[in-house]
């Protein structure tokens, strides 16, 4: 077995055999049946950006309405639907799916595997995401979009106060989406623990994957909270149960507890993977390992664990006892500590590194600043007496946009510039990239920095208009103008990608001289990812020659070709010793059929069509049975080879 010089990448000879085994059949059926994680990842990214555009347009209409006092651009009902759909779209249909897209595409490549642990489940999670998003938007298209905010407090969401289909679309749509997110999370967790290349023991795992792992583990535990909440609400609305209505012995605050027990961990789930991407990007572009790597990985987990214990900070004004408030206030303040560690680690990495100022670097570096601005406004809201003034004002709106856009969207933009070459084999134009970055950065801050002041001057949230004389007029105008600039920047990002697809310069396997395994395969990677499953000996396999790692050398040519069908290796959870040869499923329409069945079942529930619900449930069951039926090619039947 020869040792490949890991620092100098020659494209490995491609394998016609493997290419045929792993190829997706051409044509529309092939595309619909594909379980290729790279294809699914790209679909997630594109779909998430489509929803980002929808949510962005909703925001721009709102900003047009709020640019001046007492406007009539939209009616109150339209505005209330707009702000609810905007929140729901961004936080459910964009923020997590876009990160799932990156993780889906990159994880097997980062881990030296040929696919995720559950390829068919992967496809199903994507299709369900699309179906749930379309289901919810169908309501909006009919003028019955969600209209009680993304947080949907009872009793305002009960039938007495909201008789239309608005909340039903929202509740059922979210339950549906919850299934997608949960199965996606299951896939990430099992992949992390079982699909890493031999030798990639737990401390060698790329920093980026810690974010998604943590988020996924959390999602598995908290998504049921919101699914239960929405289901109980739907029962209240349809069948006259009494979970949240006071007259029947229900409790409005029960909704808030269930929702925020999910909602707070969720907001960490939508930023921790982005924080991981930032760590990954910064260490590469500063040409040195991340400072305090282990501590940053632990801080990621610590943030999420603490994140389970802070949900009441969304409920400080509800009249809870002071002792409870103090506890949650304390936890909400202390949770800043692991975040501070990540911020200082990033700064130290830049300080002691040799940064290349690419567009990706600009985005990742800006995450540091925007994260801190969002973090300190969060710190202010964590203090109960101060929160009693600034909750439900635009100060919180400023806070949440700084953390969500500042951490998630800016890291995603950085991720696009950083990994687009790997996904497409082409580079994005750097000069246009700078224009894009500065437009987004200036526009975003112009829109949201003044919003802190708007909030401190008392402007409440979720108001469709405001009167003059409160000191908010100019601030709102500036925010609206800034939002236009920011939107232009996002548009430029999309244009940059389209231009890059058309005529970007060839990228090669490793244009950034990055250390992790995905950069050892050609750009774009072959369908089978790795010609031979690598054996990993350090955290930075492609940097082993340039940084001091002792004598251990990773090997990319290992003769672990695994070409008797679709195969990859499963390894042990902590030490990544070879455990099994996994037979991977091929392309199948079962996930799509299952999703269509589920979608029709939800339509049946929405419209009270029992026959449709039952028929669709049977279709779903049939697809599931076909999917789970043991197959000889997958070594699921006794007597199969070995």
């Amino acid at each position: 077995m020869s040792t490949l010089d890991a620092h100098v990448i020659e494209p490995a000879p491609s394998s016609g055999v493997l290419e045929k085994i792993w190829a997706t059949p051409p044509g529309i059926l092939g595309w619909l049946a594909s379980v290729d994680h790279k294809s699914i990842g790209k679909r997630y990214l594109v779909t998430a950006f489509l929803f980002l555009a929808a949510g962005g347009i909703e925001a721009l209409v709102m900003r047009a309405q709020l640019a001046r006092p007492d406007q009539h651009v939209v009616t109150p009902d339209q505005y209330n639907q707009l702000f609810s759909m905007h929140g729901m779209t961004m936080i459910f249909l964009y923020a997590l799916p876009v990160l799932s897209g990156f993780s889906n595409y990159l994880w097997p490549l980062l881990f030296g595997a040929r696919d995720m642990a559950f390829p068919r489940l992967n496809a199903a999670s994507y299709w369900m995401y699309v179906a749930a998003g379309l289901f919810t938007y169908a309501g909006f298209a009919m003028g019955a979009g969600a209209n009680d905010g993304w947080f949907n407090y009872a009793p305002n969401s009960e039938r007495d106060f909201n008789p239309g289909l608005n909340i039903d679309f929202y509740a059922l749509g979210m339950i549906f989406l919850g299934v997608s997110t949960t199965v996606g999370a299951i896939n990430f967790v099992v992949t992390f623990f079982r699909m890493r290349a031999p030798g990639m023991s737990i401390e060698k795992v790329p920093i980026m994957t810690w974010g998604t792992l943590t988020a996924s583990a959390a999602n598995i535990l908290v998504i049921p909270a919101v699914s239960v909440a929405f289901f109980l609400l739907w029962l209240d609305r349809q069948y006259g149960t009494h979970f949240f209505d006071v007259a029947g012995g229900g409790q409005p605050l029960l909704w808030q507890h269930l929702f925020w027990m999910f909602g707070h961990p969720w907001v960490y789930a939508v930023v921790l993977p982005a924080i991981g991407m930032t760590s990954e990007g910064l260490q590469t572009l500063c040409r040195r390992p991340l400072v305090c790597f282990e501590a940053v990985a632990l801080a990621t987990v610590a943030t999420m664990v603490l994140g389970f214990g802070v949900w009441v900070h969304h409920m400080f004004a509800t009249g809870l006892p002071a002792l409870a408030l103090s506890f949650f206030s304390g936890a909400s303040i202390i949770i800043a500590v692991p975040s501070a560690l990540a911020v200082f680690a990033w700064i130290a990495t830049i300080w002691t590194g040799r940064p290349i100022i690419t567009t990706a670097f600009l985005y990742f570096a800006s995450v540091i600043v925007l994260f801190v601005i969002g973090g300190v406004s969060g710190f202010m809201t964590a203090s109960v007496p101060v929160d009693w003034q600034l909750t439900d004002t635009y100060f919180v709106v400023a806070h949440l946009h700084y953390v969500l856009i500042g951490i998630n969207l800016f890291a995603v933009a950085g991720g696009i510039y950083h990994w687009f070459p790997k996904m497409t084999g082409r580079l994005l134009d750097e000069r246009f990239g700078r224009w894009t970055f500065w437009t987004m950065f200036v526009g975003f801050n112009l829109a949201f920095l003044p919003m802190h002041v708007t909030g401190l001057l008392g402007m409440p949230r979720r108001v469709y208009t405001y009167a003059s004389g409160f000191g908010w007029d100019t601030l709102n105008l500036v925010t609206s103008l800034g939002s236009l600039v920011f939107a232009a920047g996002v548009l430029m990002l999309v244009i940059a990608v389209l231009r890059g697809l058309r005529n970007g310069a060839p990228a090669g396997a490793n244009p950034w001289d990055a250390p992790t395994l995905e950069w050892s395969v050609p750009s774009p990677p072959p369908t089978y990812n790795f010609l031979e499953i690598p054996i990993v000996a350090s955290r930075y396999p492609l940097w082993e020659r340039t940084i001091d790692h002792g004598a251990a050398r990773s090997r990319l040519r290992t003769e672990l070709r695994l070409e008797a069908g679709r195969e990859t290796l499963a390894t042990s959870a902590l030490d990544a010793d070879i455990d099994l040869v996994m037979k991977m499923p091929g392309d199948t329409l079962a996930p799509l059929v299952l999703t269509i069945g589920m979608a029709l079942a939800f339509v049946g529930l929405l419209l009270h069509l029992a026959w449709l619900t039952i028929a669709a449930a049977l279709v779903t069951l049939a697809a599931l049975v076909a999917w789970l039926w043991p197959q000889r090619e997958l070594a699921q039947i006794a007597g199969a080879p070995r």
């Binding site: 009616t75 109150p76 009902d77 209330n80 009680d148 305002n156 007495d160 106060f161 409005p252 605050l253 040195r288 400072v291 305090c292 501590a295 004004a317 509800t318 009249g319 002071a322 206030s329 304390g330 303040i333 202390i334 800043a336 500590v337 560690l341 911020v343 200082f344 680690a345 700064i347 130290a348 830049i350 300080w351 002691t352 590194g353 040799r354 940064p355 600043v369 801190v372 300190v376 710190f379 202010m380 203090s383 007496p385 101060v386 009693w388 003034q389 909750t391 439900d392 401190l456 001057l457 008392g458 402007m459 409440p460 949230r461 979720r462 108001v463 409160f470 340039t546 940084i547 001091d548």
Partner: protein, 342 residues
């Protein structure tokens, strides 16, 4: 206020010295400030919170500036470096120092928070007055509680309190969750159906303090404001007595208007001294003593009253008050009658 925070006695003069100028400036500027700003305070509860707000804001701004400077300097310095540093080296020490300093600041902020919370959460003295405030879509009802049933005042959207004394507010949510917020005087407390939340406010000196519902409550959440007017204690007593008195009999010229009012409006509204006794909508006794109508959606004058009666949906779309389809003379009579309710 400072004394009540129960800080070590030797710290009090120092803290008073630091806080006093801020509070003085805030109070002096209160009248000129935007109505819903909480960057100035005019009452004990808000006074206690304000230094904490400014303190945390100052820390926040300082942290942002420091981080920005560090990032920019890091980029500027490091660009010219030619060799990769030894993995970590001194860098991790600086990270832990940064985390240590941040933790220290955070813990101090937490301690300060808990102290202010303890003070703000409970009134120091017995309340001079208890008002039961009911939030409902989309206006505020106030009942001044009193052991003597004849002294229980029911009014809406604008309530007076005696300045310099703590006032207890019992919050009721009649339909959905609302939130009671008078930024100049106190933080917000939700009015939740099924439970009674207690808040307390205290205005240091007479003045008009604006409030707003701050929990999304449906279509017209944006137009659910109210005013709290603090009077000197004698003025307050006079106001209360005047409000408790029923309306005098209408003059002959207003009799038609009163009759129309009782017939068309009495099912939902009350004017004590007339036949109108409905409780679905705001109590309109002494309506003209208020500065606005429809919970702040419009100023209170004869013209706006007429416009409101003619078409409330045009001013506040979705409001519970229906468009009654009255003729212009009817509207004019009713509006003119209402304008006499001082």
């Amino acid at each position: 206020m400072i004394a009540r925070m129960r800080l070590p006695s030797r710290w009090r003069p120092a803290i008073a010295a630091c806080a006093a100028p801020i509070l003085f400036a805030q109070r002096a500027a209160a009248a000129a400030q935007p109505p819903l700003s909480y960057l100035r305070s005019a009452g004990a509860k808000a006074d206690a919170t304000l230094p904490l707000t400014w303190g945390l804001l100052a820390i926040s701004i300082a942290v942002v500036v420091i981080v920005c400077v560090l990032v920019l300097v890091a980029i500027a310095r490091a660009r010219s470096r030619t060799a990769i540093a030894h993995p970590d080296g001194n860098a991790s020490a600086w990270v832990y120092i940064g985390v240590g300093l941040s933790s220290f600041v955070l813990v101090c902020a937490l301690v300060w928070t808990v102290r202010v919370l303890a003070f703000v959460n409970a009134p120091a003295g017995r309340p001079a007055l208890t008002i039961e405030v009911t939030g409902q879509q989309w206006w505020w009802k106030a009942r001044y509680l009193d052991n003597d049933a004849s002294k229980v005042l029911t009014t809406a959207n604008e309530f007076h309190i005696p300045a310099g004394k703590p006032v207890r507010i019992e919050l009721i949510g009649a339909d959905v969750i609302h939130s009671f917020w008078v930024p100049a005087l106190a933080g917000k407390t939700d009015a939740i159906p099924g439970q009674v939340n207690t808040a307390w406010i205290e205005a240091s000196q007479p003045g008009r303090y604006h409030g707003q519902c701050t929990e999304y409550c449906g279509l017209q959440h944006a137009h659910m404001g109210f005013d709290v007017v603090a009077d000197a204690p004698d003025d307050f007593s006079k106001w209360l007595d005047a409000q408790l008195a029923a309306e005098p009999a209408a003059t002959d010229a207003m009799k038609q208007g009163q009759h129309e009012f009782e017939f068309h409006c009495g099912a939902c509204h009350t004017v004590r001294g007339t036949e109108a006794g409905g409780t679905v909508g705001p109590d309109l006794t002494h309506l003209m003593s208020r500065q606005s109508i429809a919970a702040g959606a419009a100023p209170n004058n004869a013209g706006m009253l007429a416009a409101w009666i003619a078409n409330p949906q045009a001013i506040k779309p979705g409001t519970r008050m229906p468009t009654l389809g009255l003729s212009d003379p009817q509207i004019g009579d009713i509006a003119a009658y209402l304008a006499t309710l001082r």
